[in-house]
């Protein structure tokens, strides 16, 4: 029994925790430094306001409040330090259990300080950027009067984006399903159809949507074919987006259709249902349920791409904002467009998250 690693001889030596004193001190120093930095930044803001002749009690009050807020960072930092000291004492009296508890607490509080400190640093950097060069950034992007005065025009033009999105979304959802089904048609006679469908998706997946919009928006009216010449530009934009996003949708639909187990096909066909009936009643309903989140993601992508229609001269929100921007040498109206897009997209993104979560929960249930 000379082997040092034999189980009988091996005794586990208890491992003492680190007291975390150094880490907690670091957090405290950082907290104090950030407090000072905040005071400095707020003083800069106050100076900028004075040079611009802006004076208001509420603004001063806000500045003071912001200066006081980082004091809150001291609270977790000091608590962490206290716990670290307790941990050190416990270590000295060889009370390992207590030492571990205090050490863990000390680390948690120190991390707490660091997390909030990081966010605060980002905030301060943003404020510095905003007021740099005598509030140049603020003036360029956020000129409140211009935003207020142009808001009506922009909102009206944004309606064009919404309408294009609604039509193109509706059509691409249908068109994508048609293409996906064509791609999956069985048998030799359907080979040409499958080939065309595959070529179409390959082509439009690789084409940038802005080029499709350009070609269709300018090209089709140029052909002089009466039908296309009389179509409003918006309709051509819808057509271009439908063709582009139909290809994306088709790929998602195809993944969904292929994910339905062959036994569902066998069950439906064995009851005498035809190929089409099986698709309609059994396969498509199940497939669509599974792919709602990726379909919605595609729709969100398309919604953003409605801003590209300005290349053919549709007066959408972005185009309108560019006109205002070049008149006033200021981008604040474009900021409005950006905010509008953010406002309508965030709820949809959250919806997709919830649907994905719901699907995952159902999958965990094992149904």
């Amino acid at each position: 029994m000379t082997e040092p690693n034999s189980k009988a001889l091996r005794r586990r030596q208890p491992i003492p925790p680190k007291d975390g004193l150094g880490f907690a001190l670091l957090a405290l120093i950082l907290a104090v430094a950030l407090w000072l930095a905040t005071g400095w930044v707020m003083w800069l803001v106050k100076q900028t306001m004075t040079t611009n002749g802006f004076q208001a009690f509420w603004a001063d009050a806000l500045l003071v409040l912001f200066t006081l807020l980082p004091a809150g960072l001291l609270w977790p930092a000091v608590r962490g330090l206290g716990q670290a000291r307790l941990a050190r004492q416990a270590l000295q009296s060889e009370n390992l259990i207590a030492a571990r508890v205090h050490s863990a607490e000390a680390h948690t509080w120190a991390w707490f300080t660091l997390g909030y400190a990081g966010a605060l640093i980002l905030f301060l950097l943003f404020v510095l950027f905003f007021i740099a060069n005598n509030v140049a950034v603020g003036r360029t992007f956020f000129q409140l009067e211009l935003i207020r005065d142009s808001f009506g025009l922009i909102l009206q033009a944004f309606w064009v984006n919404v309408v294009i999105f609604l039509f193109a979304g509706f059509f691409s959802l249908i068109w994508g399903l048609v293409v996906a089904i064509a791609k999956l048609l069985p048998g030799k006679p359907a080979q040409p159809i499958r080939f065309i469908a595959t070529f179409y998706t390959d082509a439009f997946l690789s084409l940038p949507s802005i080029i499709v919009i350009y070609l269709i928006g300018f090209g089709l009216p140029l052909t002089g074919i009466g039908f296309f010449r009389n179509l409003p530009l918006e309709a051509l934009a819808v057509l271009a987006l439908t063709l582009t996003y139909g290809a994306y949708m088709a790929e998602v639909y195809r993944a969904g259709l292929e994910s339905i187990h062959p036994s569902q096909w066998a069950a439906a066909r064995s009851l005498g249902l035809s190929y089409g009936q099986t698709l309609r009643f059994v396969v498509v309903p199940q497939a669509v349920r599974r792919i709602i989140p990726p379909l919605l993601n595609n729709l969100i992508g398309m919604q953003k791409d409605t801003a590209l229609v300005n290349v053919v001269g549709v007066i959408d929100a972005f185009n309108q904002a560019r006109i205002i921007a070049s008149n006033d040498f200021n981008l604040s109206a474009v900021t409005t467009v950006a905010i509008l897009f953010i406002l309508i997209t965030i709820p949809q993104t959250r919806l997709v998250d919830r649907l994905v979560e719901r699907d995952r929960a159902r999958f965990r249930q094992g149904s």
């Binding site: 036994s263 066998a266 069950a267 064995s270 009851l271 005498g272 009936q277 059994v282 199940q286 149904s367």
Partner: protein
């Protein structure tokens, strides 16, 4: 002319020949049990009978009408020949009632109300009418399998194929499914079962076929197959079944 005649049927999956010349006849109101080791072609044979798999040689006739080969209306054939699968294969997005009424309303063009009344009557018979609005995943395995049988019965098939329908069930749920089959057999439903339930086969079958290596190795009445098998391979199979305590 027999009710169902299977003559020299060959089925290949690529290079793998699963059925190597099956010969089998089934008379009306018979219950035929296919037994044999896994991979001997029981399921494949059933899937060939209702056209889910294409055969490469031989032929199958139902009431003298050839139901294999080109030009056969498979949708029409499947109205007459129902199949129930090992894994139930209910439609998970439909209620029990919708599962049962889908084919009668869409394939037979039966009015919705009539199909529902019929489906409810069938559900009542298996004691599941209170589950009509439930979804398949809210049912136990035995209940799901009984619903799957009822779904096939709703088409009023003249022949019912059952593909190891108790193999995926917990042991205590097997009996409820077998009881339903007993009842169907008593009423004269023509059935072909691929099964590992030897006790059940012995009790209900009019004919037992031992399949091995893609052919029907031995067939006969259940007493003969189970008590006095002629072929060595059949004897081996049965003795291993007895060893496992399954007979």
């Amino acid at each position: 002319m027999s009710f169902l005649e299977i003559r020299n049927v060959h089925k290949r999956f690529g290079a793998n020949e699963v059925l190597r010349g099956i010969n089998l006849t089934v008379e009306e109101h018979q219950v035929v049990c296919l037994i044999g080791p896994s991979g001997c072609g029981k399921s494949t044979l059933l899937r060939c009978i209702n056209g889910l798999e294409e055969i490469q040689a031989g032929e199958i006739r139902l009431h003298g009408d050839r139901i294999t080969g080109p030009g056969v209306d498979l949708n029409a054939l499947r109205r007459d020949v129902g199949i129930v699968f090992q894994s139930f294969n209910l439609f998970p997005h439909m209620t029990v009632l919708q599962n049962i009424t889908l084919a009668p309303t869409q394939v037979l063009r039966m009015p919705e109300a009539e199909a529902q009344a019929k489906a409810l009557a069938l559900l009542k018979r298996i004691g599941l009418e209170h589950k009509a609005q439930a979804y398949p995943d809210q049912l136990s395995g035995g209940q799901q399998q009984r619903v799957a049988i009822v779904r096939a019965l709703a088409m009023e098939p003249m022949l019912l194929l059952l593909d190891e329908i108790t193999s995926a069930l917990d042991p205590e749920l097997v009996s409820e499914v077998l009881n339903l089959l007993r009842e169907l057999a008593r009423e004269g439903m023509t059935m072909i079962l691929a099964t590992h339930e030897m006790g059940f086969a012995r009790e209900v079958a009019s004919k037992v076929c031992f399949m091995y290596g893609g052919v029907v190795h031995e067939e006969g009445p259940p007493e003969q197959i189970f008590s006095n098998p002629q072929h060595e391979r059949t004897q081996q199979f049965l003795s291993s079944i007895i060893e496992a305590g399954r007979l």
